[in-house]
Each structure stands twice: as C-alpha cells, then as structure tokens.
Amino acid sequence: MIIAPTNAVSAEVSPVDVHARGALLLLLASSLGWLVLSGILALIAAIQLHSPAFLQDLPWLTHGRAEALRETAFIYGWAANAGLGIGLWLVGRLGGNLLRALNWTVTGTVFWNLGVLAGLVGIALGDMTSLPMLQLPRYVQPLLVVAYAAIALSGVLAWSGRRVDSTYASQWYVVAALFLFPWLLTAGQMVMLWAPMRGTLQAIAAAWYAQGIWSFWLAPLALAGAYYIVPKVTGRLLPSYEFAPLAFWVLLMAGGWTAGRALVGGPVPAWISTVAIVAGMLVLFHHMVLGLNLRVVLGGTGNALSFIRFGLAAYILSGVLNAIVSFRVVAERLHFTFAGSALDQLAYQGAISTLFFGSIYYMLPRLTGRTWSSGALIVGHRVLFIAGVVGAVVSLTVAGWLQGGYLLDGKTPVADILGNIRGPLLIATASQLVMLAANLLLVVNFFQSVCPCRTADASSPGPFRQPSAVEATAT
C-alpha cells in the first residue's frame, strides 16, 4: 500500500515515515480489526455475566471461552499489533535512519496474525490452556515467538544503528518491549505448557507471565509513545527528566515481582504475595516519576494529547490501586470479585488502549502525510471511549465492592449475589457497548484516512497545525 503524500509537509513527514509506511500501516490496520473483534467478544462476555443463558447453546461461546477469546484478541491481536507499529515508528524516527529489515516485519506481521487467528479458532474449539493471559493453544505459540522476533528485528536494528549516540526514554521503553517479549513468551510457555511444572507452580508461573505482559511489554510500549509525543506537542522540555532512567529500571526490576498479588491467600507460599506488596510499593516510584516527567501534558491541547492525558491518569491510578489491593486486608474483601475486572479495565482499556490511541492519532498523519479524514469522528471516539472506560471501571468497582461484602458475610447464598449486583453489571455491559461503538468510529476514520481513493483537498491548510519548530525538543 503506497500512498503518495498530498501535501508538502517535509518538516513533519520524514523519509523514515515514508519508507516505513506500508509495513506500519499493515500493523495498525490489523490491530484495529482485532480491536473490534475483541470489543464484540467483550460485549458477549459482559452480557453473559448478568444473563447466563445468553448464547448458552453455542459450545464455542461459553462464558469461559468468550472471555478467553476476548482477552486473546485484545492482547495478542490489538495491543500487540498496535504497540509494535507505534514502537517501530518511534525507534525509526529517533534512530534517524530508514528502518531496515521491513520485509521481515511484513512477513512477521502476516504470520503473527495468522497465528493469533489459528489460536482463536483453537480456543473456540476447546484447546484453550486456561492460563490467564496465555490462553492460546500451545501449538501456535512457537510460531508467535518467531513471528514476533521477525517483526521486532527492524526495531532493534534501528536502535543499535541509530545516528545519535545518546538515547531517549522512548527508545529504552520500546527496545525493552521488543527485546523482552520473546523471552517472556518462551519462558512462560516452557514452564506452563511444554514442560509443565507441578500443581500450583503453574499458577505461580501464570501470574508471573500475566504481570510480565504488563511490566515488560505493554506498559513500556504505551509509555514510549507518551514520552515521545508529550514534549513534541507541548513544545516543552520534560521536567525532572534526569529521573526517567530510574523510573524505567524500577518498572523493569520491580514490576515482575508484583505478580503475587493475584495469588494472595491461595495455595502458594505466603512470601509470594508478601513480595508482591513490597514490589507494588516500589513500583509506585516509577509512577511518581512518570507523573513528574509528563505533567506538562496538562498544559497541552490536541487530539493525541487528550487521549494521552487520560491514559496517563489511568496508568498512574491503576498503579496506585494495584498497590492497595495487594494488601491482605483489602484483598480479603476484593479478591475473587469484579474489583479485579475493574482494575483490568482501568489498566488495559484506560491506560494501554487510550495511550495507544493517542499515539496512533499523532502518528498516522505523519505516516501518510495527510490529515485524519474527520475531526468529528476523533472527538466522538474520544468522548465515547472515555465515557465507556469510566462507566466500566466505576460499575465493576461498585459490583466488586458489593460482591465482596456479600461473599464475606457468609450468609448470603452465592446464587443470590448475582441478582444483587445485576444493576452495576448491566451498566458495565452498556459501557462495553459504548467502547465498541467508539472504536468503530476510529476504524471508519482510519480506513477513510488511509484509503488511496481519497483525493487531495487543495484548500486545506495542511495536516499539521504546529510548525516544525517543535521538532527540536524531542531528543
């Protein structure tokens, strides 16, 4: 897909962008397909929570399978493709050279998506692993490792072959994600699927893997975009930037150790959840520095920045809440309830998705050299999506709080609890619907914007309001 730029926008659209256009658009387009699919599945799974009979005669859409399909389409479909597209673009731009090995990226993308598709079919047919965040059947997993490595190769080359010797925060985060995910996936599948450890050790490994998805992969990719775009758009240097390396290493070093939060009170050694409490507190340092560095986001305007502002707020809030719920006193009430789902929504929709959206809104015009086809759709997407996230997080928190109270009192029969929290669950379903609608606006806008059929609008002043003066502040 080669699209000739329609405007002379050389200051914003660099040769790096033009060169990588096809490969990165392929990643973004695939990610949006998965985003819609996971939204539909999320809606189905949400309906099944308050109306268990929904679609009960479809064996491939039992609630457990719908949930696994949703999660897989979201993580390995949407977040992986979008995160890789954004990450490669960032290291390409910051490296200053044309991205190399892009044919590997394209091949890898095709095989990655085929692998995810085969995995989803496998889950639907009954091959899910039942390990949280790693539901993909094991027969597609080696393919995914290789395909990921092929995609990531270009990013690692762009970083190691960069023009400027010094590096920027976005580069650390992207390289960490590109480099570590294959190790994470390999280590995870080895001890859980190929040579499964004994008994509950599998659950411990699964908790570590699920936390690794966040700490070693998706959070770094999401933050990389924020670190790049915030100073570019606001035109300001990041305050306290000298602490950014510390924030980076704290996330990587302590992040994985917070895994035990998912196992509090369970049949595992007690030190695992104790370490998680300590690590959760340590990671707060990362969130604090992030807040310090990126607080200039509050002063900026623009579509990309509005998404990033909300995403960063959700990111920091989710770090704080995760640290709180890891305490045993709190977990006694909230563990095993919808409060966990609320935190997942906050982290994965509120932080990861929103930050990715912000990056995509900033990146696409620079990639294609043309504006987004509709500003109204962007605003609609933002308003609806944020409303959906807030609705889902708040309603699930309420549901989880009530559910925890009922579970704790020991008298309310379990079968009655669902009826008592039906209200909040209905709101959560509505929120999923709103998020899905919002994302459809993005999809429409995206394909209208990249469609080669779109003619140049000579009267438009050009896609970029801010002149190239801000270009200098990023590195």
């Binding site: 009954g126 008994g199 070693f216």
Partner: protein
C-alpha cells in the same frame, strides 16, 4: 544505556531475576512435594486422580469454568469460606500435586469447588450436578451440548437424566450425558480437600490471636475431624 550489549543484558537480567525469584524460587520450595503418607490410615494423600476425573479436569479447563469458579479454599478466619462450608482448612500446594492443569481461578461468581465432594452440610449428588449442567439455573448457564437426546431403544439408559414436567424430553426419548459430561461430573466429585496435612493446620500462634468472632481455632479438633471426613472421601470415590 548507550552501550547496546550492556543495555540488553540489563533488560534480560531484569526479566530473568524476577522469573528466577518467583518461578524457580517457588519451584525450589514446592517442586519436590510428595504425597503425604498417613500412618494411621496406611495410605497416601492426596489421592491420584482417576482417569475419568483427569479427563474431566481437561473438560473443565477447556470450557473455561475457571472464569466463574475458583478452586482454592481460604484459611478459616480469612474470608467466609469456612462459614460457607467450602472447607475447614485452607487449600495447600500439596492438594494439587496430581492435577495436570490446576484450576485455581480468579473470580467467585459461583461457589468455590476445590472441596466440592466434602462440602458441608452435604456434597451435591452426581444427579444434581448433571441436572444443573443440563437445565442451568438463573445464575448458571445450561450446557446442553454436553448431553444427547436420543430415542430409547429397548431399555432406558441407566445414565439417562430423570427429568419430569416441562424439562422432560418427548415420549420415548431420553437425555443422556455425553462422555464429556460424565467425566466432568466425575472430576467435580473427586475434588476433596478433607484430609488435613501438617502444613494445613492452623499455626499455633494464629490460634491464640484468632478473632473470637470466628468459630474456629482452639476447639477445632483437627485430628479428630479427619477420620469422619475420610469416610466421605471414600464415599465420594464411588
């Protein structure tokens, strides 16, 4: 972070240290857990899963039952698991050593099932579980695809569900569980955490500090309760 090899090594170290600490560390602690041989009973606990129960666990896993049911009883005094009759002791790692894919779960939309066969006041009968799977309930989906409706040829099948009224199949037809449903129910009825391992007894310190509100500590006749529970264990096996 300018030096590529050092930077990449640092990244890998960050990942590896947490993996080694959490995964290998707990493996070193629990990887060699053996069944516990009880001198009084002259047998080992936990029981090995029967073939059909092991198959049932795979059915449980691939249907995604763990998305609404946990299988981990919390200790008395932490949560209400004991009051709900889900178990008088916490689940410990040794309970799971024979399981191929332990299903700890993370959400309690339904009851905890770790100790289903020894649940108090009474464990569900196989027939109740079959009916729940076939008919569903307002809070539980029906899994009709785990059953087969077929014409009765000759004698009625012993496995046919005893359904009456609105739910009953047409005359001369019967509803029989498929092999999947049978193994799933066998698995559920094999779930038993009644035997009290040494590590599952409440620590003495906790006994003294235990909140008086909970019916537990001092009086709990742990060893005395065990034999009576074991009978249930054996009953459930049949």
């Amino acid at each position: 972070m300018k030096n590529a090899p050092v930077f990449l090594f640092g990244l890998l170290a960050a990942l590896t240290i947490s993996w080694a600490g959490i995964v290998l560390g707990s493996h070193a602690q629990l990887g060699a857990l053996a069944p516990y041989f009880d001198d009084g009973d002259q047998q080992s606990y936990p029981f090995r899963q029967s073939g059909i129960a092991a198959r049932g666990q795979l059915v449980y896993a691939e249907l995604g039952c763990a998305s609404c049911h946990t299988q981990q009883v919390r200790r008395p005094g932490y949560g209400s698991d004991q009051a709900r009759g889900w178990g008088d002791r916490q689940s410990v790692a040794r309970d799971y050593i024979h399981q191929i894919v332990p299903q700890l779960g993370g959400l309690r939309l339904g009851p905890d099932l770790a100790n289903l066969a020894a649940r108090k006041p009474n464990a569900p009968a196989a027939e109740d579980l079959m009916k729940l799977l076939y008919l569903g309930s307002p809070t539980h989906p029906a899994y009709r695809f785990l059953f087969q409706e077929r014409q009765i040829s000759g004698q009625r099948s012993l496995k046919a569900l005893p359904l009456a009224g609105r739910d009953a199949p047409a005359a001369n037809y019967e509803i029989v569980p498929t092999e999947q449903a049978q193994s799933l129910v066998s698995y559920l009825l094999s779930l038993n955490h009644a035997f009290v391992y040494p590590e599952a007894r409440p620590a003495p310190k906790e006994t003294k500090a235990g909140a008086p509100a909970h019916a537990a500590p001092k009086e709990t006749p742990v060893p005395a309760a065990a034999p009576d529970e074991k009978k249930k264990t054996e009953g459930a096996k049949k």
